[in-house]
């Protein structure tokens, strides 16, 4: 029989202090019955002798100190998993939200997970074809990678994540694939867009959703990504599925964390975020990967909006330090109606070299993206120069690079959200664009490869 306490002494922000508690454990979950009989859920943040600090996921509104009953459940937060979770929609703390019956759990898993032994990891090196040239060609994604999308308010990150979820495949393999989608504080419209898109393609049957909308309790968001990853871990490492996890939007998650930190009166780090934000984010992001001896994998696409498009804001900054690269959306390209507006130059996939090459994509891939990248960078410089000096003042060489940059944006970057390009199409398009230069200018490509792949040498 669980003991019930009615000894709430303080309530502030999302936190509550309970006194006279015996045997409470750090991190255990708590059921709270408030005056009107409704239930809330919480988690212990600190135990100091008989005083327990609890964070309440649904917020403290309407809680009073006298009539509130608190039960300590003696276990950390868990999520009940079984193959039946596929096709279901849950709320931010894992309760069914689709009106369906409760899932009969095969087992209950601690949502905090455990750190992966680095020795147990299998290196991500299987190329995922996303059908998007700027990703496949220049910043290839591999299975088990965590590649965030850095976006901003008003940019089409929802479209690109939906496109990724729709198109991402490892070619030549008929393996089972699943999508886990965690919505944290996004709008109903954004969530519904994604659900509709998955429904249209039939992918909804292989998806698990955790939805915490903008008007849902903010503190719940602390649990949402962990719920999603627990489901993903189960599907990947116990059911052997290839799981794509989309976390949207991590900025809202970090704000919830900040709210708790502020309520605890902790010394703030940059912009009021707690000093442990890096570690906290790492315990989420690092759950992506592949494990030795397991068939499945977790590939993660966190989405975050950068306040004022500022890459040095703590959320994108710390994310960039943990994830294996980043895809950055460009407002300038978006204004030019180039879609998806991927800002090629600052975007990066750190694992690209592991997933491409002769047996994986094609032998010319590495040299080709280096050359395209260099040429586009040079072209962008020329574009900038032209805005200062006027196009006529550019040297003939600069003019050529500028022309290349324009073509590159119009044909390579711009493809729309519904065109699914194979890697060969993407690579050949790259060669076609480079054919405007003399062979000797293509310093980053092996001469042999030019002879083999340049359109004019091909039969």
């Amino acid at each position: 029989m669980l003991k019930e306490y009615q000894t709430v002494s303080e309530i502030y922000g999302p936190l509550m202090l309970v006194e006279g508690v015996e045997g409470a454990k750090y991190g255990e979950i708590v059921d709270i019955e408030i005056g009107d009989g409704s239930m809330r859920h919480g988690q212990i943040l600190q135990v100091d002798r008989d005083k327990v600090m609890v964070q309440i996921f649904e917020g403290t509104e309407g809680i009073d100190a006298e009539n509130t009953k608190v039960r300590f459940l003696g276990k950390p937060m868990e999520f009940g998993v079984s193959p039946d979770i596929l096709g279901r929609v849950f709320d931010g703390i894992g309760k069914p939200k689709d009106g369906g019956p409760a899932v009969i759990a095969k087992k209950r898993m601690n949502i905090n997970g455990n750190p992966i032994n680095p020795y147990a990891r299998n290196f991500p090196n299987q190329f995922i074809q996303t059908g998007i040239s700027t990703i496949d060609g220049l910043n290839p994604l591999v299975r088990g990678q965590k590649l965030p999308i850095f976006s901003g308010a008003g940019l089409p990150h929802d479209e690109i994540t939906a496109q990724l979820a729709r198109q991402a495949t490892v070619r030549g393999e008929g393996e089972s694939f699943a999508v886990v989608f965690a919505a944290m504080g996004i709008t109903f419209e954004a969530a519904q867009f994604f659900i509709d898109d998955l429904t249209d393609t039939g992918a909804i049957e292989r998806a698990v959703m955790f939805i915490n909308l903008a008007n849902d309790p903010a503190i719940e968001r602390i649990a949402t990504p962990r719920m999603a990853l627990t489901a993903a871990e189960y599907l990947a490492f116990e059911e052997g599925m290839q799981v794509l996890v989309i976390l949207n939007d991590m900025t809202n998650y970090c704000e919830a964390l900040r709210e708790i930190s502020a309520a605890r009166k902790e010394v703030p780090g940059r912009r009021g975020y707690p000093g442990y934000l890096y570690t906290d984010l790492a315990t989420i992001y690092e759950r992506a990967g592949r494990l030795k001896g397991k068939d499945g994998s977790i590939t993660m696409i966190p989405v975050l909006t950068m306040p004022e498009d500022d890459k040095t804001h703590p959320v994108p900054d710390l994310t960039g330090y943990i994830t294996e690269g980043q895809i950055i959306m460009s407002r300038a390209l978006h204004r030019k109606s180039i879609s998806p507006p991927v800002d090629v130059l600052p975007s990066l996939s750190r694992l690209k070299d592991k997933g491409i090459g002769e047996d994986k994509t094609r032998e010319d891939h590495a040299d080709l993206y280096n050359q395209l990248y260099a040429a586009y960078a040079r072209g962008k410089e020329a574009q900038e120069l032209a805005t200062i000096l006027g196009e006529a003042a550019l040297s003939p060489e600069d003019q050529k690079y500028m022309k290349f940059a324009d073509e590159f944006e119009a044909r390579y970057i711009s493809q729309g959200y519904y065109e699914n390009r194979t890697i060969e199409v993407t690579l050949d398009l790259g060669w076609e664009l480079l054919s405007m230069f003399d062979d000797s200018e293509l310093k980053r490509i092996d001469v042999e490869l030019i002879k083999k792949y340049m359109p004019k040498f091909r039969k």
Binding site: L45, I116, R121, F123, Y276, T312, P314, Q326
Partner: protein, 588 residues
């Protein structure tokens, strides 16, 4: 002794646990916390209350559970078996944890750092009856094809050696005795222990005087690090800090490399684990892994163990230094280490200094880097060892005014400044040639056996830097008025600098030849670039059109010279003849 003191938990807040009834405990004693025997370390004492940082996740731990003091500070086991190992931050072998627990790290397992079963062939190098002191070498174990492990008398032990025999021993078996003047016997074993927070002693500190060759052109030729020196690599994310660290770990001409992955990505450590055993050391032809010790405390592993990992790493490094070896330690990233300190400090409710970091941040960083150095090792035979430290720093937003960067720059002698701008241009390594510096440049010339060649290399390096400086100034002008309006001579400077940047400083870590360049090849490439410059200037003086020089075919050869294998070094030198021939054709 503080052993067996047993107390009770009263408070749990994240990685910090407070226990009472701990009277008699000492600072930094290791304790076992709770029913699951989690490993922790005492970091604060108030009366009989002890604050403990716990190296494992504390979820499920609560007041009333017991805490037992082990009576010893956090120590590492030193002996044969370290090489090729992969440890977590408190020297638990991750491969054995994997066999025991599977894919995830669970709590409460204490696996010793050194394997207890492996037998090592021990050969004594001194006679029984010899008088020995702490640090004296008594024998050797061939630990790997690349490393001869010297067995030393533990510090503080003095006396006459008895019963020392060759044979096959585990690390715990007695290989001999040391009998003191008072008749006390101390058993000698292959293994000894050392507390990680205490620097190992040496007879004398010496100033570094020799370059640590890394095979990375921008480092060796422009900003070299010395054996026993310190360097830091700060840069925003995506500028290639980790690739720089990996490249150095792979190609540096040190005898032992200790790589500490401190709070970084799990997949990066896997990369090291999978790639290093396949790489061949250019100097010996053996797998590189046979000289490497890895420590991996990734960002999702407990923070307190991350705080300890840096100390565990440096203690292991010092141990190899004491054998008379040149050791290089890479710490990636010291910012994560500092953040771990900050997190513990916050939980201890200490008064914060800048950005929430504890006030002792600077002191801790300084004393860590001070453990580097070239030393005369204690004990006989007389030998010199060196320990170099290369620390990566990850400043928020790439801002170099960050506390960790500033505290690090106070102490290190080499600064490799990684720039986001260069990384965006895919110029790797993205080390900025204008803002980086090295205090060890004067030793560059001594790398070459040929004195004249050394002098010439030093001069070429200097000249290149002057040209690059000029380029920065000229670039401003060109930006304003266009390239056509500057003199032919200045345009030659710009073209040469472009060549220095693209053909020399830029280096592809993933190309099988380009990944490593011997110092001789560096000399040849740089010489060819500057030879063209010189000849070009002379031709311009003769009245040759500058654009004709820039269009010379030989420039393409220079551009591809870094991909010429080391065996065909003469080809690189031969480029200069081609330059002369093609230049002559211009003037006629």
């Amino acid at each position: 002794m503080s052993e067996n003191i047993s107390g009770k938990i009263v408070k749990v807040a994240g990685p910090v646990v407070v226990a009472e009834e701990m009277g008699g405990s000492r600072m930094y004693d290791v304790v076992r916390v709770g029913e699951e025997n989690l490993i922790g370390e005492i970091v604060e004492l108030h009366g009989d209350c002890a604050s403990i940082q716990v190296y494992e996740d504390t979820v499920g731990i609560g007041p009333g559970e017991k805490v037992v003091n082990t009576g010893a500070p956090l120590s590492v086991e030193l002996g044969p078996g370290l090489i090729s190992s992969i440890y977590d931050g408190i020297q638990r072998p991750l491969d054995q944890l994997y066999d025991l627990q599977g894919s995830y790290i669970k709590r409460g397992s204490a696996i010793p750092g050194l394997n207890r079963e492996t037998k090592w062939e021990f050969k004594p190098t001194i006679e029984n009856g010899t008088k020995v002191f702490g640090g004296d070498i008594v024998g050797e174990v061939q630990e790997s094809t690349l490393l001869l492990h010297k067995i030393m008398v533990p510090a503080g032990v003095t006396g006459t050696v008895e019963g020392l025999n060759a044979g096959s021993f585990t690390v715990e078996e007695v290989i001999g005795n040391v009998v003191g003047d008072d008749g006390n016997r101390t058993e000698l074993k292959l293994m000894q222990k050392w507390a990680v927070r205490t620097p190992r002693m040496s007879k004398k500190r010496l100033a570094p005087n020799e370059i640590l060759v890394t095979g990375q052109r921008v480092v060796d030729a422009f900003f070299p690090i010395a054996k026993g020196g310190t360097a830091c690599v700060p840069g925003p994310f995506g500028t290639g800090k980790t690739v720089v660290q990996h490249q150095l770990a792979k190609w540096v001409n040190a005898d032992v490399v200790v790589y500490v992955g401190c709070g970084e990505r799990g997949n990066e450590m896997t990369d090291v684990l999978m790639e290093f055993p396949e790489l061949i050391d250019p100097h010996s032809g053996e797998p590189l892994m046979k000289r490497v010790v890895l420590l991996a405390n990734t960002s999702d592993m407990p923070v307190a163990a991350r705080e300890a990992s840096v100390y565990t790493g440096i203690t292991i490094a010092e141990y190899f230094r004491d054998m008379g070896y040149s050791v290089a330690l890479m710490a990636d990233s010291t910012s994560r280490w500092a953040e771990a300190m900050r997190e513990i400090s916050t939980r201890l409710e200490e008064m914060p200094a800048e950005e929430g970091y504890p006030a002792y941040l600077g002191a801790r960083i300084a004393s860590f880097y001070e453990r580097a150095g070239r030393v005369v090792c204690t004990g006989s035979p007389n030998r010199e060892g060196a320990l170099s430290i290369i620390g990566a720093v990850s400043p928020p937003g790439g801002d170099l005014s960050d506390s960790v960067v500033q505290a690090t720059l106070h102490v290190v002698k080499v600064f490799w400044s990684l720039q986001g701008r260069l990384a965006q241009q895919r110029h790797f390594p993205a080390i900025d040639w204008l803002t980086s510096y090295s205090f060890y440049k004067q030793y560059l010339k001594d790398v070459f056996e040929d004195v004249d060649k050394g002098e010439e290399m030093a001069k070429m390096s200097q000249l290149s830097m002057i040209l690059l400086e000029q380029e920065a100034e000229l670039a401003e002008i060109v930006r304003l008025v266009g390239a056509e309006s500057i003199s032919a001579k200045d345009r030659m400077v710009l073209e040469t600098c472009k060549s220095i940047r693209e053909d020399f400083l830029h280096q592809n870590a993933f190309h099988k030849v380009d990944t490593h360049t011997s110092i001789d090849k560096q000399y040849e490439i740089l010489k060819s670039i500057l030879h063209l410059h010189e000849q070009g200037l002379a031709a311009i003086k003769r009245g040759v059109e500058a654009s004709e020089i820039f269009a010379l075919k030989v420039r393409e050869e220079i551009a591809r010279s870094s991909f010429i294998p080391e065996k065909e070094l003469a080809k690189v030198a031969g480029i200069r003849d081609t330059i002369d021939v093609q230049m002559k054709a211009l003037s006629s």
